[in-house]
């Protein structure tokens, strides 16, 4: 095992004509001289929120807007009202911003993460949104378990408008400023989909069949 490691590194260095790897700083300096453009990225002439909503819709996601976090339970109720939930429960991600809210009885909210595999709908808190692509950013951790992003049929993400940034790069800037990369960061753009049957787009392949973002602010 470690022999293969040594051999691969030896071959890499032989191919590159050296015996010692340059430092990360030397490498970074080389990269800087190579990248002379102004970081080509999509641009848009609307505000960030409009771009976010437009891209989210283009990815078959939906959204609603409330002015304060306290209105989220009502917005969830409105969203679920006309949907066929087949008696499956709606569960809360263990995030204090959600668990501290006043949830009406008739929504039958389940707060027990251990039951997550039976939930039809999961409600989670988005860490950030990306306007460029209409994506929600979900880093893993005790308040944001990864599997909740994928197991339920319906995924509801509560996102503060102030947390919407223009580009993905800003997500890494903030995450790395706060500490290490979490185990997983899911950047989610619309519901699950596949085109593997005759290149026909079909939603709800393995992950959620719908993604609904409740924008707060």
């Amino acid at each position: 095992m470690s022999e293969q490691r040594a051999e691969i590194l030896r071959r890499v260095q032989q191919a590159l004509g050296r015996q010692k790897a340059p430092s990360v700083d030397i490498a970074a300096a080389d990269l800087e001289t190579r990248l002379t453009d102004n970081l080509p990225r999509p641009e848009w002439n609307t505000d960030s929120l409009s771009r976010f909503c437009e891209r989210l819709e283009a990815a078959a996601g939906s959204h609603a807007r409330v002015s304060s976090i306290n209105e989220v339970p009502r917005a969830v109720g409105d969203y679920l009202e006309n949907l066929e939930t087949d008696g499956h429960k709606t569960g809360l991600s263990p995030h204090p911003r959600l668990t501290e809210l006043d949830w009406p009885e008739d929504l039958g909210i389940d707060r027990e993460f251990a039951n997550a595999r039976t939930w039809g709908t999961a409600i989670a808190v988005g860490y950030m949104g990306i306007a460029e692509t209409g994506s929600v950013v979900m880093p893993s951790g005790p308040t944001r378990p990864t599997t909740l992003n994928f197991l339920p049929d319906r995924h509801i993400v509560v996102l503060a408008i102030e947390d919407i940034v223009d580009y993905m790069e800003s997500v890494w800037d903030r995450l790395l400023a706060e500490g290490e990369m979490p185990r997983t960061v899911n950047v989610i753009t619309g519901p699950s989909r596949t085109a593997d049957v005759e290149q026909t787009l079909q939603l709800g392949a393995h992950g959620p069949r719908s993604l609904h973002v409740i924008l707060v602010g």
Partner: protein, 472 residues
């Protein structure tokens, strides 16, 4: 997977007369091309982005030792393990060893081309219940076929064939009515959900490896890679050493290129960044993370003129825009990498002597290079393989003799012109305007008529006459 490059011509012929395949290819053809074209409209500086992609990959390859060590250090620090495999066999053994150590019974796989490359499925299936979770991969696993496209592995299957496969494997029946796409997708979702929940091991590839953070990047639209890497106890990622990029900033640029080039999206539904194993405070996620980095011929390419092929990010744009691929599909290429990128990689990884048709079965029309997100000079590399083939006498003796004889003649213009001057009137005996058959031109006339020489003589003969010059 068995290597069968040598039968390229026979497979291509069969593909051309396979009606199901042709109908599937016809459905796919325009879709990929149009979607990519639409997706880059949103990014007017796409050409500058391609140049950036090329620079990022070239830089990384030139500092691969630095970034390998940095990546390994960060994965380890975050509770993961990095393994190295020189070749396909040691990659399989490493992965089987991890599965055995975990006392695994069930393995769920997300699509990995590196896994295909090392023949991982056959090895796993011999010991563990192994299920592919990407819908396309699942379909071809049921059909016991290799993928025919690197991002749409079942692109060659029609809905009727998929109906038949699902009826047979899920319901033990056959001959049922054609089923609708939502019905088929839903059924696979149900079957595979059980597999996700029951698996001990999840295996994925990696679209990018980020050195600065030790992060594995995965892109999918189905969410299958995410379930595969978050539900089982153990996650194994297999990737070529060339998948590295320096930092999260660069990976962001590369993702813009990949999504647009591959599926014509601005971003895939799920773009996932995995760094290490489950943390103590996490409520879910695998306890173990293993990253298996494979060489399998890559370090050799790093040291020669084929290094730029290591820039490849496996988007499939080259095959989507290749008229040969769209005529014969992926299976004709005989190994896991089809199309233009396969015409370079297969000879690199498997040897040119068993795959010399691949670099030849190309018109060098250059469209692949013009859409490649990292600007790989695919036609140049393909032509360089022809040079090697000629040099190493892999090109057959008759072909070599023919081309050398012609070359000898062409370097003697006077003799050349005498001969062509004599051939013209002879050829014109075979028809008027064009001929259905001409001796020694059977390959041409198999599918088209042969336009015969027009006018009163070669251009040079007539030019001399016109200028009143005398032949010397």
């Amino acid at each position: 997977m068995a290597v069968a490059e040598a039968d390229f011509r026979a497979r291509a012929r069969k593909a051309l007369s396979d009606e199901d395949l042709q109908s599937a290819l016809a459905k796919a053809k325009g879709g990929f091309v149009d979607k990519r074209a639409n997706a880059i409209l949103d990014l007017p500086e796409f050409e500058a982005l391609r140049e950036r992609g090329r620079q990022i990959k070239d830089h990384t390859l030139a500092h691969l030792d630095t970034y390998l060590e940095q990546f390994e250090g960060n994965v380890t620090r975050q509770g993961g393990q990095v393994h190295y495999a020189l070749d396909a066999e040691s990659a399989r053994e490493t992965i089987l060893g991890i599965c055995r150590d975990a006392a695994a019974k069930q393995v769920i796989k997300a699509k990995t081309m590196a896994g295909e490359e090392v023949g991982l499925n056959e090895a796993l299936e011999a010991e563990f219940e192994t299920v592919e979770s990407d819908l396309g991969e699942y379909i071809i696993q049921l059909a016991k076929e290799p993928p025919s496209h690197i991002i749409a592995p079942a692109v060659h299957k029609t809905r009727a064939q998929i109906t038949e496969l699902f009826d047979h494997h899920h319901h033990q029946k056959s001959g049922g009515p054609l089923r609708e796409t939502p019905d088929l997708v839903d059924e696979a979702r149900g079957v595979l959900r059980e597999k996700f929940l029951g698996a001990d091991i999840g295996i994925s590839g990696a679209n990018f490896l980020v050195a600065e953070t030790g992060t594995i990047t995965l892109v999918t639209n189905e969410g299958n890679a995410d379930l595969s890497t978050s539900l089982p106890r153990v996650h194994i990622a297999i990737a070529g050493v060339e998948k590295l990029v320096p930092s999260m900033r660069e990976v962001s640029s590369m993702l813009r290129l990949l999504a647009r080039s591959a599926t014509g999206q601005q971003i895939t539904a799920y773009t996932t960044f995995i760094t290490g194993a489950r943390r103590p405070e996490d409520l879910d996620g695998p306890e173990e993370l293993h990253v298996v980095l494979i060489d399998n011929g890559r370090t050799r390419m790093l040291g020669d003129e084929f290094r730029e092929m290591l820039r490849c990010i496996r988007c499939g744009a080259c095959m989507n825009h290749c008229p040969v691929y769209s005529a014969i599909g992926g299976h004709a290429y005989g190994w896991v990498y089809p199309g233009p990128m396969g015409a370079v990689l297969t000879p690199m990884f498997r040897g040119l002597d068993s795959s010399q048709d691949l670099p030849n079965a190309c018109t060098l029309n250059g469209r692949c290079q013009s859409v490649c997100p990292v600007k790989i000079r695919l036609p140049y590399l393909i032509r360089r393989l022809r040079d090697q083939s000629f040099e190493q006498q892999i090109t057959g003796p008759f072909a070599r003799w023919a081309i050398r004889t012609w070359g000898w003649l062409a370097r003697r213009p006077a003799l050349y012109q005498q001969l062509t001057g004599l051939m013209r009137p002879a050829l014109r005996l075979f028809g008027r305007g064009s001929a259905r058959r001409v001796p020694l031109a059977g390959a041409w006339t198999a599918g088209r008529d042969f336009p015969l020489p027009s006018g009163k003589g070669t251009f040079q003969q007539q030019w001399r006459e016109k200028r009143g010059e005398k032949r010397t």
